[in-house]
């Protein structure tokens, strides 16, 4: 998409991927951090891992099975929490453990049979060897996330405020919440190839936390978080290729530095002792 601007194909793909992943994750991150769902990062990365192991075991395309398995887990989060009367956070823990068990089971089994599994791209991400299709998928999920937040903005904001009050207002809380969990999980699963399961938190949590240092209301958080994430990842990709450094960890460190700076500069923390 940016080929006309950037000649090097690898840099171009890396930049596009980082941009889409960071916008998607940071927008959803605003919702995630407000609703204490950040363990969705763990759960989805391990679901993808289990799916990849399943693919290898069955001799299918590991990438496809990773996405398929993630989608199944994503669809389970809402209904399981509801049936078990648990906070979604606890369900995420249970599903995380389940995914991990499936993965370890299959990997151990394959070891007995003399087959190995390489999942390093899921854990660490691999932004320099992406296929064009993966970038299209990321663009699609980014578009979907933005559309979803815009389309259901009032429902999402009411749910972020207080689930019970949203329900009492007559909002179809359950429906929106299930779709929300599903889209978050799907976006996380698709972004895994870019930054990997270990760094996905940086995109989910850090931009939203930076926005939280300055913003008094959600609307501005939904704008500030992706703006910061976009700027930092574009800068990170450029710097990484310019000075031959690994892309994802550099972006992670840059975002963390931005967070530290924002904590120091936040005017929200100013104490006013005005006496008249």
């Amino acid at each position: 998409m940016l080929e006309t601007l950037i000649e090097n194909n690898v840099v171009c793909h890396a930049l596009e991927a980082m941009i889409f992943a960071s916008i998607t994750c940071s927008i959803l991150g605003v919702i995630i951090s407000r609703m204490s769902l950040s363990s969705i990062g763990f759960t989805m990365s391990h679901a993808a891992f289990a799916g990849a192991a399943l693919g290898m075991f069955l001799g299918a395309n590991a990438q496809m099975t990773a996405i398929a398995f993630s989608m199944v887990v994503a669809a389970l989060i809402g209904p399981v929490s509801d049936k078990a009367k648990m906070a979604a956070d606890a369900t995420l823990g249970v599903l995380f453990a389940m995914s991990m068990a499936v993965a370890i089971f299959l990997i151990s089994y394959m070891e007995y049979m003399g087959k190995g599994l390489s999942a390093s791209s899921l854990l660490f991400g691999d932004v320099v060897s992406l296929y064009r299709e993966e970038i299209y998928a990321l663009a699609a999920v980014c578009f979907l996330a933005i559309l979803f937040v815009l389309g259901f903005y009032k429902e999402i904001s009411a749910i972020m405020f207080n689930m019970k009050i949203a329900e009492a207002a007559g909002i179809r809380v359950k429906l929106v919440y299930y779709i929300l969990l599903f889209i978050i999980a799907l976006s996380v699963a698709l972004s895994l190839n870019i930054v990997g399961g270990l760094l996905i938190f940086v995109l989910l949590v850090t931009p939203a936390s930076i926005a939280g240092q300055f913003c008094f209301n959600v609307r501005s958080m939904f704008i500030v978080a992706p703006a910061v994430a976009l700027f930092m990842s574009a800068f990170g990709v450029w710097a990484a290729f310019e000075y031959t450094m690994p892309v994802a960890p550099l972006v992670a460190l840059l975002l963390t530095a931005a967070f530290a700076l924002s904590v120091m500069l936040s005017f929200k923390r100013r104490i006013n002792t005005k006496m008249n």
Binding site: K154, E155, S157, E167, I171, G212
Partner: protein, 249 residues
Amino acid sequence: MSIIDLAGIYTAYEGGEKAVIRNLSLRVDRGEYVVIGGPNSAGKTTLLESINGLVKITHGRATVCGLNVSRVSDEVRRRVGYVIQNFYFDPFTPFTVEQVVMMGRFGRLGLMNRPAREDYDAAQRAITQVGIEDLAHKTIGTLSGGQQQKAMIAHNIAKEPEVMMLDEPFSNLDFHAREYLQGVFKEMARKGVPILMVAHAFDGLPDIPIRLVVMNQGRISCDRNCRAEEVEDIIRKECVVPGKCLRRS
């Protein structure tokens, strides 16, 4: 037809030992001002939440605004105001009072529809009516308990409900605010919106005929019309069962 029509309803919570609401029938008509009293755990909150479908009734039939609550509880909640008893907003809640009041309109707007001029106007009117214009742009989590309660009342007034249910709406309010808001609710009742108010303190009730409903262990033990100053005495008399009373006698 009554706006609220409960016929022999039972409500039980998952895992509870027995039904909390037991064989309860109640009809409420336009413009009635109903005060619901009774000891702690009598089932007052559960009754309100059975009316708007936040908890499901297990037996019996509940009809509100002509709608079957068990079937279309979303639609019922869009038309019924409900100020909940307990809420807590942490100081970092990223919503202003104005936004929270506006949320009262969201249910009736329906999925995907954006608020229009009339919704903003209704929210603004509610803020003025409750008298919190000065708080409109403040973050809700940083307000005092009473200010938050006023914001939640404005949220429900902005909804322009066909029934208004309030669960101890005055627990944090000063006497001036109580009297003022009782006047607001009296005016709503005069316009035909029935008021159902759960309360433990009865000062400042409006000088209109009051229908007093006393609950005891999931049943209605008294349902009669009275004047504001009689409410407290009647409740004291109704609740003298030893160990289950407001005041031991």
